[in-house]
Subunit: 293 residues, 6 copies
Amino acid sequence: MFFRQRQMAYHAKPEKPDPLFAKMLQEPLGGQWGEISVMMTYLFQGWNCRGPQKYKDMIMDIGTEEIGHVEMLATMIARLLETSPIEQQEDMAKNSVVGAVMGGARVEDAIVAGMNAQHYIVAGLGARPSDSVGNPWTSAYTIASGNLLADFRFNVTAESQGRLQVARLYNMTNDPGVRDMLSYLIARDTMHQNQWLAAIRELEEDGLEMTPVPSNFPQELEKGEVAYQFLNHSEGTESQQGRWAQGPSPDGKGTFTYVDRPPAFTEDEGNLNPVDPRTYGTPPAPVPPAAAE
Amino acid sequence: MFFRQRQMAYHAKPEKPDPLFAKMLQEPLGGQWGEISVMMTYLFQGWNCRGPQKYKDMIMDIGTEEIGHVEMLATMIARLLETSPIEQQEDMAKNSVVGAVMGGARVEDAIVAGMNAQHYIVAGLGARPSDSVGNPWTSAYTIASGNLLADFRFNVTAESQGRLQVARLYNMTNDPGVRDMLSYLIARDTMHQNQWLAAIRELEEDGLEMTPVPSNFPQELEKGEVAYQFLNHSEGTESQQGRWAQGPSPDGKGTFTYVDRPPAFTEDEGNLNPVDPRTYGTPPAPVPPAAAE
Amino acid sequence: MFFRQRQMAYHAKPEKPDPLFAKMLQEPLGGQWGEISVMMTYLFQGWNCRGPQKYKDMIMDIGTEEIGHVEMLATMIARLLETSPIEQQEDMAKNSVVGAVMGGARVEDAIVAGMNAQHYIVAGLGARPSDSVGNPWTSAYTIASGNLLADFRFNVTAESQGRLQVARLYNMTNDPGVRDMLSYLIARDTMHQNQWLAAIRELEEDGLEMTPVPSNFPQELEKGEVAYQFLNHSEGTESQQGRWAQGPSPDGKGTFTYVDRPPAFTEDEGNLNPVDPRTYGTPPAPVPPAAAE
Amino acid sequence: MFFRQRQMAYHAKPEKPDPLFAKMLQEPLGGQWGEISVMMTYLFQGWNCRGPQKYKDMIMDIGTEEIGHVEMLATMIARLLETSPIEQQEDMAKNSVVGAVMGGARVEDAIVAGMNAQHYIVAGLGARPSDSVGNPWTSAYTIASGNLLADFRFNVTAESQGRLQVARLYNMTNDPGVRDMLSYLIARDTMHQNQWLAAIRELEEDGLEMTPVPSNFPQELEKGEVAYQFLNHSEGTESQQGRWAQGPSPDGKGTFTYVDRPPAFTEDEGNLNPVDPRTYGTPPAPVPPAAAE
Amino acid sequence: MFFRQRQMAYHAKPEKPDPLFAKMLQEPLGGQWGEISVMMTYLFQGWNCRGPQKYKDMIMDIGTEEIGHVEMLATMIARLLETSPIEQQEDMAKNSVVGAVMGGARVEDAIVAGMNAQHYIVAGLGARPSDSVGNPWTSAYTIASGNLLADFRFNVTAESQGRLQVARLYNMTNDPGVRDMLSYLIARDTMHQNQWLAAIRELEEDGLEMTPVPSNFPQELEKGEVAYQFLNHSEGTESQQGRWAQGPSPDGKGTFTYVDRPPAFTEDEGNLNPVDPRTYGTPPAPVPPAAAE
Amino acid sequence: MFFRQRQMAYHAKPEKPDPLFAKMLQEPLGGQWGEISVMMTYLFQGWNCRGPQKYKDMIMDIGTEEIGHVEMLATMIARLLETSPIEQQEDMAKNSVVGAVMGGARVEDAIVAGMNAQHYIVAGLGARPSDSVGNPWTSAYTIASGNLLADFRFNVTAESQGRLQVARLYNMTNDPGVRDMLSYLIARDTMHQNQWLAAIRELEEDGLEMTPVPSNFPQELEKGEVAYQFLNHSEGTESQQGRWAQGPSPDGKGTFTYVDRPPAFTEDEGNLNPVDPRTYGTPPAPVPPAAAE
Ligand SMILES: [Ca+2]
Ligand SMILES: [Ca+2]
Ligand SMILES: [Ca+2]
Ligand SMILES: [Ca+2]
Ligand SMILES: [Ca+2]
Ligand SMILES: [Ca+2]
């Protein structure tokens, strides 16, 4: 059960409107690596958690925090849109240089063409639950497998991709209010990358999971001879130069070897047998017409 | 530029048909964490790579290997479907117990209801580029950000989720041929988890990237005071018990602190200003009708 | 900013596992008219609200309540899955009648075929953010236009479709624990239908919006002669018998008339002009090859 | 069975081409609340209707009318695209001011960047079945539940959102031909809002359905004590000021009450039981490796 | 502008309900190659047509016919669902053999598990605009390029894939009413395959378009030396045995040649240059942290 | 099993960066008719092929070639993005005319607004697996039915739509390096259109398949009287003028006839029966509340 406090977690106030940056800021709100994704991912991981209580509680903490991040971004975007295109059009129409260049006739298009058209037409100058090119957010971005190591690895990724995108956006604006909010989100992503890395160590120290995931699958059932081989599938051998091709493997259970031209394990060329002709696929040789009775 | 060898990488031959397991095996073929996903992810990471050659070559090697994994799974699924439902219907019709139970009339439905209907109707008993519940594969599953640490973390995740799913499937069949192929894929996932973990260490040792990603964003620009704080957003303090709430952070740059009831940093409640009434949103007070001239 | 209380809003405990009902219960969780949809819809309506504070506060109240409904359903589904298919297989294998019918060989398939395969393979017996046939939830289900009357009408719809679906599901189970939770959700949908209907009246009484939405578009700019005409586009005149074809219109601004065979307002047949041949569409007559220089 | 008349329902002729407005006009054609959505929604509601004939006939009338609206918009968009970018490039290249600004080299990009690229590349200057940011139309926008009150409430919403969007677009163009067509669509939306509101009253007067939907679910089976309570889930009590928090409920069956800090109905914190370890989720305590035999 | 006749184009009456076949019959209704796809494809091709009137009229004729095919399938599906699962449950419960097998407890699940759950929960026993595994129809299935030869080739494909799927479904039912309707759809697909093949010949005879499409692109601008070469990219030379590897090409403009081991045309290995470090991708060598000012 | 050669199949080097053309070039990479689509379509057709070996080998050859086309386009796009928006901003800021027009403040927006925002934010100046308006590629674009004639018809279409799009793009750039690569892709599409047309003839000559597809469905089971009728569904008779309305049909098995006003074959108006009231759809007359016990 959830409750809401009136204040936002942090400031979300731009110095001035900027509909074009509003479009870009949709990416950390409703994009694949945006705040809706981490909010939903952490909430589902928490609700589905069957592990120790400290993990469930920790996951729910961060999941709940992320709802507030969604709130901050949605508010910021709505404020970046606060001057409507119609007003901008009127302002710009007074600008003679622009008027001359654009022919004096369809000035509003120059602005609107660059906007996310749905910000105006669909949301009436509000935030959208979509990414920077307009794709709706999809729950395919929500990852919750029941295996906490597999999922915490995803979470480290999400906070890495997320911090990367916000850092890029930081470079695309010089609005002090926007940058202030981004500096908060970037700092929280620093924390969250560290938090999930720490949680991975905790899981291993608690003996609950380790590499290779899932560690409870009996490793003697896998095809052992290829479990630590690097297979070179392209010309050139630069790939031999990394630590992935020699020395002990990170799981401490094997030694990497390098196979320059990997052989096939089978003579099977993948040819298929014919099936019932009433499925009407193309057979190896002509067959007479037939249907089920 | 790519070339194909006739033999498959490994055996892909079931002992006998099993259309229901064919449906489930679509998950590691065309699901979010299936072979098409890693094939496309690694190929795009390689093509977009601007880092040292040894990384690009290594990424392309594994990307090319994964095309062969897609091939093995597609072939296996087509073979698991080789006895058509029509033939099974006829076989089952001769089984009097089934006939009695089902009423003697619509026996084929019992089989077909459990199948992926598109295996028969759309693909004519071939594999589909979709997951186990029929969702088409989407390139949203392809991750290539240009930042290799962010992406290698994704790759570790992908091989973890993938190995987890295949291990679960191993438990759902007792066909020796199917299990043999799965034991190969599980072993390769062991290798690939280790490979990406090794590549992460190499990246750090090469000084190219470290935590927090992206490490080239000047950390003094982030809101430092919240960069290592654990914020407790739910009742209870079990979340205080993990190493994510105290001690040095994994990046070696901070010390975790635990904030029991995190304060808001602002008095701002997120209220928005009115906008041009010609956008027809609901205003704070009634306004007269208007349209642009 | 949001906080979480440990207790759920209501009981979510089934008497016994039921993986097939778990599949169906995904619809009110992650389907088009499920709890994720109303949660996200109300939160976005609230964040984007530019109207009076009482509306914004009310919308945020219900949006926050819905997060708790998502929580209850996710928990219920995870519990309905608590006996794994493997255990069920072993139980059923002891049942000789089933064994005989199924041929004694692939009993687990009979159960698994009916399950949502991703409950097992992807989520490890946890809830999924998807609907009852496996489609991922999409933010296209989130509606927030900035116009509160347009949106409250959507909200009444959402609570109507939602209550309808849950009532149907009530009839498909006889588990007392499941039915208890459904009776709570159904009651809240009763409240929420009434709440949005009341909010619509309030909006009208506050003079903020009325029919036709948007009421601030000057109605003299619309093509008035067709604004209250019922146009009969199919054979038969049963459609003349309703109050939509005669008498005063609900907005109080017109009188319905019935047009039996509606005429076209134009002689224009929609034929198009040719365009630059370098777009390579099919022209009205042959043209010579050409390309831009 | 359907037939087509040569003339369109109304004029659809712009005064001059405008590829940027063509992009925006995709929203009422192929967007969530566009003409394809209402066409498909009404047709499916009609085909699935099991209620009285006057409803089915009325629904089919409007569904058939909407096909003609799709036709008008598609034609308008194709005409707005009639001057190709190549010609515009040549015209603009003669304009020295533009030439100077743009550097004289890549003038066409300035236009094409603002266009929907698929209008040119994919459709050869024709309309697309997509929205204003390029998302394909999806049948998730088609609503037909079998319950006419639930569906008519959706229909009122669709005509409200639709009229809202077209009114916004009216403000973004000053082409008399485009505005003329929009004034027709706006008027029909006025009619259709009224029509569905009238149909809702008719349903109630016919005794077929009322609030709460579905009215045929026995209301004594719902958890009555929460069926008319407003639950305050956020700080502040502005939400107490509306008619949704006090007085009789619109369905005439209850009285609203306001609960300031809603209690949980359960002590259950949603913790889950462990499951079969062969699903490889993270357990509460370490378990030995295992697989099905 | 469109009108509807009361009678359907053909009979659509099953002898008895069959919810499992109803699920499969969604494929030709709302699947990729179903009737909604051809309806929308032909209508958009017609509305966007800039070629001779006889083509536009012909395309609109078949587009309008297809609306009636959608109607027949939707009606058939609604009728196949007419006995509700609840009634079937009660009927089956009286059947002691079934009762014994199923354990007497959850009989309804056996039926419902095989059904499309949304037929009951979402549509109330009506048709859905989705395919046989529940994916919503998407306008990505609508093809209209402006080039009639490219599009007519698609149309031949659509009628081929469609007839193939319906023929497969014919074999999965023995209901005389269903088969009667399918025999009509199959016959119309025979006509439509022939119709589009004839239209292709007409286009060529009218000199409007020929192979290679688009024929108005000056062929001297393409890289002529590879325009008629078969490039062997896999081991083995069976592919040399077809008429695609030797002799005159079907367009009459070239002669096929077979290249056993195709060479690369370039020494370029696709390596990329470094970019501005403020994009935070991984560079070839370490760089100091930086951000835009 | 697949291997990669270092060199690309052809040159992929632009003369200079062009982020706006990079956006458009996503269409032939990740659009519906782009190289990923043909790559995946041909590979799946090959893996699922149950016909003669020469077909399977030929299909795999071209499928493998297409992987190299994806590679070329991804590389070209990454290179077109090589000057980052930040650098361009700095360059443009020095251009006083632009500075004056744009107001000197937000110059970067003018460029970024036209870019695909995800090229920068998500991919760090790399290629995306998406189309020109940002939709992710979906495996719904992959066609493999098991019937080679149905599929080869699709393949001819794909190479036609693909060549059409690339020819259009040729006209939108004057970069010699880009045009050189496009001239290669256009030539290969010429070959591939011819190749699939030749393969269709070969299939027919081998007696494996012919019109109407599937030819192995017994044609006497279709409703013969409508198998060669052209049904005129719209006003006007221009559609009578083509060879699709008279003379022998292309399959050589019938004679086209023209039906001016096609009659319905049934008096059935598609009305449905009532169903169990516990599904809560709207019935023909009021019923009392009820629920399953
Ligand atoms: Ca965050
Ligand atoms: Ca793999
Ligand atoms: Ca709810
Ligand atoms: Ca309309
Ligand atoms: Ca048809
Ligand atoms: Ca190609």
